[in-house]
Symmetry: C2
Subunit: 375 residues, 2 copies
């Protein structure tokens, strides 16, 4: 079983789920508390996880909302405390993994929780969390190995939390769990991974190992995303897409960019219920077009990694890829209208954590242009 112990301990391969009892034992977790969502419970993946455990869990919280909220995390934290658990297993996509991270924070830290957010430079206040084993069921977020999570606070703000203590103690990446993912979700989550890789490479932060990993992830995503979308049972494609997702999160320790800035800002509009990966996919080519000449050398490296000719236009390639895998070609097609571009949304984008590491400086005016292009 390949072991990758960069930021976290990771078992990665078909069948890795069987390692769960051993991994928990290695972390000293005797009473795991499972965090997942209603879809995974209904679809049977929760049962598969419970079957893989060598014992009954201390408790299960299966009510993770599509966009994790402080209220949901507080309910789960309460259940965790009452269960006498000594560690967490997160099963799901970014939502379940992020909620599980929030639970870990809440059961070990006093509120109010806004002060732990990246906007308040809250990393200083974040100490050790309970051991978390993350078991992703989508290939996109990379939350199983990332230093952060996103939570909608009671005050309505969508806040990013970042700390080395937030990295799960272990990840179990079993591509088997993604075989049933429908084509559209495969495409949208896959383009989330692609965006992580590309934005991380383009970030001006100097971190060659992370950049190399991002290039490798972009290569994999470009090579396998269509195969995974067209034939969900293509095991090779599923393996490589899960790897691209994992690599995307390893890469983005060097920062993300304006795609995520705008995507986070629009993702807050609760009435629209926009999918994060789909937003990234739609915005990506437009952000690349605006960055363009400023990152010629990086664009060349990305094209080389992806196996594209140096004469190829990366913007066109991403646009055409989106079309081939069935993703919308504009924010309008997702239900976004000009009226959604409020001052508040624009300010949110301009001050988002990801904006600071964009390839070129992006202010509110640049976001006006990016929104207009992507609309």
């Amino acid at each position: 079983m390949p072991q990758m112990n960069y930021l976290t301990q990771c078992s990665f391969d078909f069948g890795a789920l069987a390692q769960l009892p051993k991994v928990l034992k290695g972390l000293g977790v005797a009473r795991p508390f499972v965090v997942t969502d209603p879809g995974l419970k209904a679809g049977g993946l929760l049962d598969r996880l419970l079957a893989a455990l060598s014992q009954a869990p201390a408790g299960v919280f299966a009510d993770t909302p599509a966009n994790p909220t402080e209220a949901a995390a507080a309910r789960a934290a309460q259940a965790y405390r009452e269960s006498g658990a000594d560690g967490i297993v997160a099963l799901g996509g970014g939502s379940s993994m992020d909620l599980a991270k929030a639970v870990g924070l809440m059961v070990t830290h006093e509120g109010p929780y806004a002060r732990y957010g990246a906007a308040e430079r809250g990393a200083r206040h974040i100490k050790q969390l309970p051991p978390l084993v993350a078991v992703p069921t989508t290939s996109g977020t990379g939350s199983e190995v990332s230093v952060g999570f996103v939570l909608i606070l009671d005050n309505g703000r969508k806040e990013t939390f970042v700390s080395p203590h937030i990295v799960p103690a272990a990840a179990i990446c079993d591509p088997e769990l993604t075989l049933g993912l429908p084509p559209l979700l495969t495409a949208a989550t896959g383009m989330d991974a692609m965006t992580h890789c590309i934005e991380a490479v383009l970030s001006p932060v100097v971190h060659p190992p992370a950049e190399a990993i991002g290039l490798d992830g972009a290569e994999r995503a470009m090579k396998y995303i269509e195969r995974a979308v067209k034939d969900g049972g293509d095991r090779d494609a599923r393996w490589h897409m899960m790897m691209a997702s994992y690599e995307g999160a390893l890469a983005f320790v060097k920062g993300l960019g304006a795609v995520h800035g705008l995507s986070h800002a629009l993702g807050r509009i609760s009435a629209l219920k926009l999918h994060h990966g789909t937003l990234n996919a739609v915005i990506l080519p437009h952000a690349l077009a605006m960055i363009g000449g400023a990152s010629e050398e990086k664009f060349a490296r990305i094209k080389r990694a992806m196996g594209l000719a140096q004469s190829a236009d990366l913007v066109d390639e991403i646009t055409q890829l989106n079309a081939r895998i069935g993703l919308p070609d504009s924010l309008s097609a997702m239900g976004v209208a000009q009226a959604h571009w409020s001052d508040d949304t624009r300010d949110y984008a301009a001050t988002d954590l990801a904006t600071g590491s964009n390839a070129v400086r992006f202010d509110a005016g640049k976001y006006d242009e990016l929104f207009a292009r992507a609309l």
Copy 2:
């Protein structure tokens, strides 16, 4: 200052040495013990390190031999204990860093030390070591970020020790410290880094992030080694060679290969005093020639990373590079003779830790051929 916190915390840039007091403070080290070698003491680099410390060190051991021995490590460990130190700073190439790691093991673990060696699966017995800050002065070994060290035991065996606890708590990579490195040492250590990258990529162990980092390191080494050799003051070249070295060690968590197997075996012949990097450089093309067709896809990726045409012959490219940077073209030219190929040396190579992760299976017979080719 770029921070890379994969396996270890690393400050990497010109001037990074100035971070030493802050890094020690962050690790809770109040009384650092410095380990270095006589050449660095005579050449003034030790004085620069001591000047960068905000306080007098608890003690200094400047007698690291070219190939670290258990006896030297025991003396240094004794001095460490007597000094009341609470952490170690290693200044030097692979020898000083490896000796410092051995000191950390000795002051926290009971002997005999052979039982901690990789040959005895000793990793199980290795617990927490004192915090070690590694400050490399060459670009090659990557020991500042690696999970292992090599020590010649009192019983004469050159033993490899491997454990996550051996990774230095922090690395300070300041290319400034390599500006005075003479051309031949620049070439030999640089080819050590190149060999780490290439052998790690070729290892069949599946670890895509490490492989991506190895490809990036190979690209850098190929691009900058000649510049660093020809003009030691070429700051860009020095930066990238130090990065290639750092990346080589991150990459070789997925294993090395037969170049290191033979190099370790010959490096034990104390009468010859062979330089590890030079050995690797000389052996590398011959091992590649023997692996050849078995790793076509990997060879293609390495050539692509290095900016070579797909029609290029990697073996020829490395052979010619060695010649251009003034390295010997055979083991004979280094003083090795057929008579040195004893049963003991051949057995050592065949059972070396690196042999197990070679691109293709290498038994004693294959090593006979590799030695004959390289001689």
